[in-house]
C-alpha cells in the first residue's frame, strides 16, 4: 500500500476509535441516536456497495434484515450469542445469492419490483409456518445492553468500510464500475456480469441480515409485521441517495444529518411527522440534487478555485 492509503486507513481507524467512545458519554439519548446512525450507516453503505456502481435499486433490505432478526429470535437460546450474527450473515448471503441468480439477469424496473416483493414473500412464509405451528411472536430476552449493540454495529460498520475500500480497488470493483457505465460493453470485454453482480448483492444482503441479528435483542419481541416493515428498505435508499452513492463515505454523510432531521421532526411535529418528512424530502431534492457528496465536492472545487486565483 502507498502512503496515501495508510493515511486513509489510519484516519478512518481514528474516527472509529472516537465513535467507540460514545457509550462513555453517559447519555442514553445520544447512545440511542448513535445506534440509529450506526444501523443506517451500515445498511446504507452496504446497499450502496452494490447499487452505487451497478445502478440497480434494491428494495430488499427489509427482507434480509428480517431474516437476520429471525435467526437471533430462533437461535439465541440454543446457540452461543456470537455465532448468531455470523449465521445471519450466511443466511442473508445465501438468500441474496438465490435471488440474485434468479433476478440479476433482469434489469431495471423488474429487479426493483422483485426486491420489493421479496420482503413480503419471506414474511408470508414465516406467517404461514406460524399459522401451521400456532407459534406467535418470539421473545428475545437477553441481558444485551445498548452499548453492546452499538459496539457490534460499529464493528460491523468498520468491516463494511474496509470491505468496500478493498472491493473498490479490486478487479471486482473495476468490473462493477464498467457494468454500471455500460453493461453491454462490460459483457463484450469478457466480464462475467451476472457473477459480479450476484457476488456484490450477496455482500449487501449478508450485511443487512447481520444488522437484523444484532438489533433483535433491542426490539425484544419479534413478529413478522415488525421485522419485515417495508419502510426500512425505503429509508435506506433515501439516506444513501441523500448522501450520494458515488463515494464509499457518501451514504454516511447522508445518514448522519438525516437521523438528526428525523429526530428533530419527530420531537417537534408529533402530529405531523409524516407531513414534515415529505416537505423535507421535497426541499432536499430541490436544493441538493446530487446529495451531500455533491455539496461537499462543490465546496472543495470552490476552495481550489479560490486558491488558484490567489
Amino acid at each position: 500500500m502507498t502512503l496515501p492509503d495508510w493515511k486513509t486507513v489510519g484516519g478512518a481507524a481514528v474516527l472509529f476509535g472516537l465513535a467507540a467512545l460514545l457509550p462513555y458519554s453517559g447519555s442514553g439519548y445520544y447512545l440511542g441516536l448513535g445506534i440509529t446512525i450506526a444501523m443506517f450507516a451500515v445498511l446504507a453503505t452496504s446497499w450502496a456497495l452494490f447499487s452505487g456502481p451497478t445502478h440497480y435499486i434494491s428494495l430488499a433490505t427489509a427482507a434480509f434484515f428480517g431474516v437476520g432478526t429471525y435467526v437471533t429470535g430462533l437461535g439465541f437460546e440454543a446457540l452461543p450469542y456470537w455465532t448468531l450474527p455470523l449465521i445471519a450473515g450466511v443466511a442473508g448471503a445465501v438468500l441474496a445469492g438465490l435471488v440474485g441468480l434468479a433476478t440479476l439477469r433482469l434489469s431495471g424496473v423488474y429487479f426493483v419490483i422483485f426486491t420489493l416483493g421479496l420482503a413480503e414473500l419471506v414474511r408470508q412464509i414465516i406467517t404461514w409456518s406460524q399459522n401451521r405451528s400456532g407459534q406467535k411472536g418470539l421473545y428475545v430476552l437477553t441481558d444485551m445492553t445498548e452499548a453492546g449493540i452499538y459496539w457490534q454495529l460499529l464493528g460491523l460498520a468498520a468491516a463494511v468500510f474496509l470491505a468496500g475500500w478493498l472491493i473498490a480497488r479490486s478487479r471486482l470493483g473495476f468490473a462493477l464500475r464498467i457494468i454500471g457505465d455500460d453493461e453491454t460493453v462490460a459483457a463484450h470485454s469478457g466480464i462475467n456480469t451476472a457473477l459480479a453482480k450476484v457476488l456484490l448483492f450477496m455482500v449487501s444482503g449478508g450485511v443487512a441480515a447481520m444488522v437484523g441479528a444484532i438489533l433483535a435483542p433491542r426490539f425484544v419481541y419479534i413478529e413478522p409485521s415488525l421485522a419485515f416493515a417495508p419502510i426500512l428498505s425505503f429509508q435506506v435508499v433515501i439516506m444513501a441517495l441523500l448522501g450520494g452513492t458515488g463515494r464509499l463515505w457518501g451514504p454516511l454523510v447522508g445518514v448522519i444529518p438525516f437521523t438528526f432531521l428525523l429526530e428533530a421532526i419527530a420531537s417537534n411535529f408529533p402530529n405531523q411527522t409524516t407531513l414534515a418528512l415529505g416537505v423535507a424530502f421535497l426541499v432536499i431534492v430541490y436544493l441538493l440534487p446530487r446529495g451531500f457528496v455533491g455539496l461537499i465536492e462543490d465546496a472543495k472545487a470552490r476552495m481550489r478555485r479560490t486558491e488558484g486565483a490567489l
Binding site: 442514553g28 404461514w128 400456532g134 419502510i231 402530529n271
Partner: protein, 404 residues
C-alpha cells in the same frame, strides 16, 4: 416589510399560545408533573390507537387539570402531557421513550400501544425505573417479562384466557341444551389471530366439541366469501372467528348475506367497537366477541358520558376502558404514595388494589391483572360482558336468532 409582518404574526401566535396554556398553569409556583405519551398516530396501528388510546389521555389529563391537578403530598400539581408519534415502528418507540426520559425529563411515561411496541419499550422503561402499566399488550409470557422488567404491569389479559372464555360460553350453552357440539372456526393468519386459534383448538376438543370446519385466511385478504361459504356449508351450531377489525366487519357482512344459520356467532377484535353496531344495527344483536365491560355499572356509564363530552366519540367496550383504568391506577398510585419518586410509586402499584372504571385492579405477584373480561355480547345496542375471569356484572348470554 415582509419580515415585519412575519414578526407580528409570530408575536401574535406566541401570545395566543401562552393564553391557551394560561389557565392550566395559573399557579406559577407549582411545577406541573410531566407525563410522556408515545403511541402510533400513523402506521398500521394508528386506527386502533386513535380510537382507544389517545382519546383517553386527553380525557384523563383534562379531568385531572380541571380538578386542580394531582394531589402529591398535599400540593396540587397539574399534569402536562408530551405526545410523540412512533409511526407503529418499534425503533421509533424506543427513541421516543428515551427522548422523554432524558431530554424531556418526564416524571412518568404512559405505556405505549400494542403488544410489540410495549415489549420493545420495556428495557428503556426498566432502565430509567418508570412504571409501565400496559393496557393493550396481550402476552402469555407475563411471568418471564415481569421477571426481567420488574415495573412492567399487565391489565388486558392473555390470549389463552380470551379463547377459553369463548369456549366456556359454548360449553354453558350446550349444557343448557341451546346448541349442539358442531363448531366452525376460522382465524386470520397473523400474530394474535394465530395465537387465539392455537389456544382455542385444544380447549374445544377437551370440552368435547366437534370442529367441523377449521381454516385460516391471510391478513388483508379481499375475498372472504370462500371462508364464510365453507363454514356455512359445514352446518355448524357455532361460528368462531379469531379475527382483526377489518376482517371482523367483512366476515360479519358476508355471513349476513349468506344468512349463516348459527346460534352463536363470534368475532374477536373489533366486535366491541361502537362502529360495529353502527354498521350492522339490529343484525349485530346477540353477536358475541372478544372483550366486554360491565356496561351497566355506574362507573362505566359515567366514564362513557365523560369520554363523549371530552372527545366527541364513544369509547369502545373493551380496550378503551382498560386504557383509562391504567391511567386511573397511575393517578391513584401517585396520590396514594404522595410522591413522584418512581420507585416508590411502582412499589405502591404492586402493594395496593385500585378502584377503576373496569372494577378493582389488584396485580398479582407477576404484576398481572388476573381478572379481565373475555367475552361480550351485543344486547339492545350495548356490548355487555358475558364471561370473564373474575369480574362482576356478567349478564346471561343469549343465542342468535337470525340476521334481522
Amino acid at each position: 416589510m415582509k419580515r415585519r409582518t412575519l414578526m407580528k404574526l409570530t408575536a401574535a401566535t406566541s401570545l395566543a399560545l401562552s393564553m391557551m396554556h394560561g389557565p392550566a398553569f395559573a399557579d406559577a409556583h407549582v411545577d406541573p408533573i410531566v407525563i410522556g405519551a408515545v403511541a402510533p398516530k400513523t402506521g398500521p396501528l394508528a386506527g386502533g390507537s386513535t380510537v382507544s388510546h389517545w382519546p383517553n389521555i386527553a380525557l384523563w389529563a383534562g379531568q385531572i387539570n380541571a380538578r386542580g391537578g394531582l394531589n402529591v403530598g398535599g400540593t396540587m400539581h397539574p399534569v402536562e402531557i408530551i405526545e410523540y408519534d412512533d409511526q407503529t415502528n418499534p425503533g421509533e418507540t424506543i427513541k421516543a421513550v428515551q427522548r422523554l426520559a432524558t431530554q424531556d425529563e418526564a416524571d412518568f411515561i404512559l405505556a405505549p400501544y400494542g403488544t410489540g411496541l410495549n415489549i420493545a419499550a420495556a428495557p428503556i422503561f426498566a432502565r430509567y425505573g418508570y412504571p409501565q402499566i400496559t393496557s393493550t399488550a396481550i402476552t402469555d409470557q407475563v411471568a418471564e417479562l415481569s421477571a426481567q422488567f420488574p415495573n412492567m404491569f399487565f391489565t388486558l389479559g392473555g390470549s389463552k384466557g380470551l379463547a377459553e372464555g369463548a369456549v366456556e360460553v359454548l360449553v354453558n350453552l350446550r349444557d343448557a341444551g341451546d346448541i349442539g357440539s358442531k363448531v366452525a372456526m376460522v382465524n386470520v393468519a397473523d400474530a394474535f389471530g394465530i395465537e387465539l386459534a392455537a389456544a382455542a383448538r385444544p380447549a374445544l376438543e377437551a370440552a368435547g366439541f366437534d370442529i367441523v370446519y377449521d381454516s385460516s385466511y391471510p391478513l388483508g385478504t379481499q375475498d372472504l366469501s370462500p371462508v364464510v361459504k365453507g363454514a356455512a356449508n359445514a352446518g355448524p351450531d357455532a361460528f368462531l372467528a379469531w379475527s382483526y377489525p377489518g376482517d371482523t366487519f367483512a366476515l360479519t357482512e358476508l355471513s349476513q348475506i349468506e344468512g349463516m344459520d348459527v346460534k352463536v356467532f363470534y368475532t374477536a377484535v373489533g366486535a366491541s367497537f361502537p362502529a360495529y353496531y353502527g354498521r350492522f344495527g339490529a343484525a349485530a344483536e346477540n353477536i358475541i366477541g372478544a372483550g366486554g365491560v360491565n356496561a351497566d355499572s355506574q362507573a362505566f356509564q359515567d366514564y362513557r358520558a365523560a369520554h363523549m363530552a371530552a372527545t366527541g366519540a364513544e369509547p369502545d367496550y373493551w380496550a378503551s376502558a382498560m386504557m383509562y383504568s391504567s391511567l386511573q391506577v397511575l393517578e391513584q398510585a401517585i396520590e396514594g404514595a404522595g410522591t413522584i419518586d418512581r420507585a416508590v410509586v411502582s412499589q405502591y402499584i404492586k402493594d395496593n388494589a385500585f378502584e377503576t372504571v373496569v372494577g378493582t385492579i389488584d396485580f398479582d405477584a407477576q404484576n398481572n391483572n388476573a381478572s379481565f373480561w373475555t367475552v361480550g355480547q351485543w344486547q339492545d345496542g350495548v356490548f355487555r360482558g358475558v364471561a370473564s375471569t373474575g369480574r362482576e356484572g356478567a349478564v346471561d348470554v343469549k343465542i342468535k336468532t337470525g340476521w334481522e
